[in-house]
C-alpha cells in the first residue's frame, strides 16, 4: 500500500529567498503519528507551511505525493478540502466572523468537494455538540469571532476542535504545544489522542520533548539545517532528551 504522504528531496525557500529546506525525505502512512523535532531555525515550520501551501514559499526541488497525487500542484484551499489540515502555531484572528459560521463554511466546502451533501444548521450543530463533548470543550468559544480575544490556550484548543470537525486525513500540528501551560497542554493532547484513527496520519512539529510524553508518536525525526538527520521509534525521543540535537547536526 502506498504511503499517505511521500516527500522526496524537498528543497524550499522562505519568503525573502533563503533556502531553509535542503532535501527532506519523509514517508508517513495512514494511522501513523510522526514527531518532527529540532532546534529553532531548522526548518520545521517551513516544512508545515510548504505542505499546507502557504503563499510566498518557493519549492525549488523535490516532490510531495499525497495519496499518490502531486500535493504541490494544488492550491492551498484544495489541499485543505482534500484532507490536509494545518493546526497553526499562531492561529489567525478574523474579526467579525463568527467561529461557527466559519467552521460550517469550511466543513461544507470540503463536503462539496467530496461530493457529500452539505450539513444543514441542525446537523452541523449536532456534529459540533459531539465534538465538544469528545474534546471536553465549553461552547462559549463558538459564539465569538474566529480566534479574536482568545487566550493562547483557547486558540490551540480551537485548532484541535476544528481538526475534529473537519476530520482530515493528514493533520500537521505546528508547535501546537508552544505557549501552553501544563493543564492546557494536557487538554490539547487528550484531544489529539482522541482523534487518532487508523485512517488518519498526524505529523507533530515541536521544539520540546514534553509533548511526546502526552502524545506518543510512532516515529520521531530530527530536523536540522533543512534535513532530517536522524529517525527512530518512540524510544528515540527519550534518547534525544539525554544527548540533545547538537551531535546529530554535526553528524549530518
Amino acid at each position: 500500500m502506498s504511503k499517505l504522504l511521500e516527500i522526496r528531496g524537498l528543497r524550499a525557500r522562505i519568503p525573502g529567498g533563503r533556502e531553509v529546506l535542503k532535501g527532506i525525505d519523509l514517508d508517513v502512512g495512514a494511522g501513523e503519528v510522526h514527531a518532527i523535532m529540532g532546534p529553532n531555525g531548522a526548518g520545521k515550520s517551513t516544512l508545515s507551511s510548504v505542505l499546507a501551501g502557504k503563499p510566498g514559499y518557493e519549492v525549488t526541488a523535490g516532490t510531495v505525493l499525497y495519496r499518490g497525487r502531486d500535493l504541490l500542484a494544488m492550491p492551498a484551499d484544495e489541499r485543505a478540502r482534500e484532507g490536509v489540515f494545518l493546526a497553526f502555531q499562531y492561529p489567525v484572528e478574523i474579526p467579525g466572523v463568527n467561529n461557527m459560521y466559519f467552521l460550517r463554511a469550511a466543513l461544507n466546502a470540503g463536503r462539496r468537494q467530496r461530493g457529500q451533501a452539505e450539513l444543514d444548521a441542525q446537523q452541523f450543530l449536532k456534529a459540533v455538540r459531539e465534538r465538544l463533548k469528545l474534546l471536553d470543550i465549553g461552547d462559549d468559544l463558538l459564539r465569538r469571532a474566529v480566534n479574536v480575544g482568545f487566550s493562547g490556550g483557547e486558540k490551540k484548543r480551537n485548532e484541535i476542535f476544528q481538526m475534529a470537525m473537519l476530520e482530515p486525513a493528514l493533520a500537521i500540528l505546528d508547535e501546537t504545544d508552544s505557549g501552553l501551560d501544563i493543564d492546557a497542554l494536557r487538554a490539547v493532547s487528550d484531544g489529539v489522542n482522541r482523534l487518532r484513527d487508523p485512517a488518519r496520519a498526524i505529523v507533530m512539529i515541536t521544539h520540546y520533548q514534553r509533548l511526546l510524553d502526552y502524545i506518543v508518536p510512532d516515529r520521531v525525526h530530527v530536523l536540522a539545517d533543512g534535513r532530517i538527520v536522524a529517525s527512530g521509534d518512540k524510544t528515540f525521543a527519550t534518547e534525544l532528551e539525554r544527548t540533545g540535537y547538537a551531535h546529530l547536526g554535526d553528524a549530518a
Binding site: 507551511s49 503563499p55 518557493e58 492551498a76 489541499r79 478574523i94 466572523v97 474566529v146
Partner: protein
C-alpha cells in the same frame, strides 16, 4: 512567518494576485433596461421646466412657488468642490428632469394598473410587491424613474393611522403635513444638490406615523432609474410623531448605461418626542464599468432632526453602487437626551469614488451619537470618510463615539479619513478612532487552509469587517447586503 514578501514572487498565486483577480470584473446584475414607453420632459432646466413638472403633477400654487424659490437659489449656487472627488463637469441643461411611465399617466391606482413590464422589472429586482409583499411583511413604495408606481399595504397601515404613500399623493391628500415639514430639516438652499432637488423633485415617498403608534412592519421604497438621459430627484419625507416608531428601508438600482446619470435625492426625517426612526439604505446604483465609463452620480442630502426629547434617529447604509457617491446622512440632535447613529459600509471598486460620512450636531443636553463607518477600497477605487462631530455650547453632557475603519484591497486604491471634531462644551465627551489596514495574507491563508476558496475567504473576511454595520440592518436587508458585498468585490453574478 511574518516576513512574507510577495512583491517579487510571481511564482505562486500570492494573495495580492488573487485579490486583484477577484476584485476585477463586472458583476452588476441590475443593468437591464426595461422597455417602457415613457413620457419625458424635454432636456434642459429653466423656470419653465420647474413649471412643467409642477403642472404635470397637478401641484398647488404654494408648492410651485416653493420650487421656484429653490430654483432661484440654485441658480446662484455653485457645485461643492471640497469633497475628495474627481467629477467631470455636469451639464445640467443636457438632462431631462422628468420621466414617467406613460401607460398610467396619473399614477397607478392599484397593482393591477401597473404596467406588467414594470412588475417584471421589480421581480428581477427581487422586490416583494403584491402577494409576495404580504408574505415578506414588507410594505413597498416603488419609485420608477420619477414616479411612484405602487404602494402596497396601504389599507392595513391606514387602520393604524399611518400614512405611507407617494410624495405626489401626500401633496394632494395630506397637504397640511407636507407643508409643515417640507424643507424643515433640509432647507431649499442647504446645498447645491438639495436646491436642485427642491426645484425639480418629481416624486418620492411620504410617511407619517401618528403619536404612540409603532409601525408593525418595515416600510420600504425601491428606487430605479430606467430611462436614459434622465436624472432622478426624489424626495422622502418621514415624520414620526410623539412616541412613534418606524423602520424604513430603501433600495436603489439603475440600468447599465454608458453615460453618467444624476441622482440627487433629499431625505428629511423628523422625530418628535420619544419617537424613533430607523432608516436603512442599500444603494446599488450602476457603478460604471471597470474603466469608469458610465454609472450614477449619487449626490444625496439626507438629514434627520431629533426634534423632541429622547427621540432617536439611526441611519444605516450599505453603499456598493454609483460611480460617485456624495452623501452624508446626518442628525440634528435638538431634543434633550436625543440619540443619533450612523452605520455605514461603503465599497469602491474599479474607478468608483465615494466621499461619504455623517454629521452629528449636538444641540440639546445629554445628546449622544455613535458613528461606525467601514470603508473598503479595491481596484482603483477611492473611498473617503468625511464626518463632522459638532458639540454646541448648550450641549451639556453630549457624548460621541466614532469608529471608522478602512480596508484596502490591492495597490491602486485609496482610503481617506477626514474627521472634523468641533467641541464647544467642556462637559462633552468625544472619542474618535480610525484604523486603516489591508486584508492580511495570514487571514486569507488561514481561511484557505480550512478549505475556503480565495473568493469565499475574501467575502468572509470583508463581511466580518463590516459586521457591526450589517448587524444594524433589518434581517432581509442584511442578507441582501452581504450578497451585494460579495458581488461588488468578486464580479460573480451570483
Amino acid at each position: 512567518m511574518s516576513e512574507i514578501d510577495t512583491a517579487d514572487r510571481p511564482a505562486s498565486a500570492t494573495p495580492p494576485d488573487i485579490l486583484d483577480s477577484i476584485v476585477q470584473g463586472e458583476g452588476y446584475k441590475y443593468g437591464f433596461v426595461t422597455d417602457i414607453e415613457a413620457e419625458e420632459a424635454p432636456p434642459g432646466l429653466n423656470e419653465d421646466t420647474v413649471r412643467f413638472i409642477s403642472a404635470k403633477k397637478g401641484e398647488p400654487a404654494w408648492l410651485l412657488d416653493w420650487r421656484l424659490k429653490a430654483f432661484r437659489r440654485w441658480q446662484a449656487m455653485e457645485a461643492p468642490d471640497w469633497a475628495k472627488l474627481d467629477i467631470a463637469p455636469i451639464d445640467y441643461q443636457a438632462a431631462s428632469y422628468y420621466s414617467a411611465p406613460k401607460a398610467a399617466k396619473d399614477g397607478p391606482k392599484s397593482l393591477d394598473e401597473v404596467d406588467p413590464e414594470l412588475l417584471k422589472t421589480y421581480e428581477k429586482l427581487g422586490i416583494p410587491l403584491g402577494e409576495r409583499a404580504a408574505l415578506a411583511g414588507v410594505a413597498v413604495d416603488a419609485v420608477f424613474d420619477s414616479v411612484s408606481v405602487a404602494t402596497t399595504f396601504k389599507d392595513k397601515l391606514a387602520d393604524l393611522g399611518i400614512i405611507f404613500c407617494s410624495f405626489g399623493e401626500a401633496v394632494r391628500e395630506h397637504a397640511e403635513l407636507v407643508r409643515r415639514y417640507l424643507g424643515s430639516v433640509v432647507p431649499q438652499g442647504d446645498n447645491f444638490f438639495a436646491a436642485l432637488n427642491s426645484a425639480v423633485f418629481s416624486d418620492g415617498s411620504f410617511v407619517y406615523v401618528p403619536p404612540g403608534v409603532r409601525c408593525p412592519m418595515e416600510l420600504s421604497t425601491y428606487f430605479r432609474i430606467n430611462a436614459a438621459k434622465t436624472g432622478q430627484f426624489e424626495r422622502t419625507l418621514l415624520i414620526a410623531d410623539k412616541g412613534a416608531y418606524v423602520s424604513y428601508l430603501e433600495g436603489c438600482t439603475a440600468p447599465q448605461r454608458d453615460e453618467n446619470q444624476l441622482h440627487a435625492a433629499v431625505v428629511e426625517l423628523v422625530a418628535l418626542e420619544d419617537a424613533e426612526i430607523k432608516y436603512a439604505t442599500v444603494q446599488n446604483w450602476y457603478p460604471g464599468d471597470e474603466n469608469g465609463k458610465g454609472g450614477i452620480y449619487n449626490f444625496v442630502t439626507k438629514r434627520g432632526a431629533c426634534r423632541g426629547a429622547r427621540s432617536k434617529i439611526s441611519w444605516a447604509q450599505v453603499e456598493t453602487g454609483s460611480a460617485i457617491t456624495w452623501k452624508y446622512p446626518s442628525c440634528l440632535l435638538e431634543g434633550d437626551g436625543s440619540v443619533g447613529a450612523f452605520y455605514s459600509v461603503a465599497i469602491t471598486n474599479n474607478r468608483q469614488q465615494a466621499d461619504t460620512g455623517t454629521k452629528m450636531i449636538h444641540i440639546g443636553r445629554d445628546t449622544s451619537s455613535t458613528v461606525i463607518s467601514k470603508g473598503i477600497s479595491a481596484g482603483r477605487g477611492q473611498n473617503t470618510y468625511r464626518g463632522q462631530i459638532k458639540v454646541l455650547s448648550a450641549a451639556e453632557g453630549a457624548r460621541n463615539y466614532t469608529q471608522c475603519d478602512s480596508l484596502l484591497i490591492g495597490k491602486r486604491c485609496g482610503a481617506h479619513t477626514v474627521p472634523y471634531i468641533d467641541v464647544r462644551h467642556p462637559g462633552a465627551k468625544v472619542e474618535h478612532e480610525a484604523t486603516t489596514s489591508k486584508i492580511s495574507e495570514d487571514q486569507m491563508f488561514y481561511c484557505q487552509q480550512r478549505g475556503l476558496t480565495a473568493e469565499d475567504a475574501l467575502s468572509l473576511i470583508v463581511n466580518g469587517f463590516c459586521k457591526e454595520v450589517l448587524n444594524e440592518l433589518p434581517m432581509e436587508f442584511a442578507v441582501e447586503a452581504q450578497k451585494l458585498l460579495a458581488v461588488s468585490l468578486e464580479g460573480s453574478v451570483g
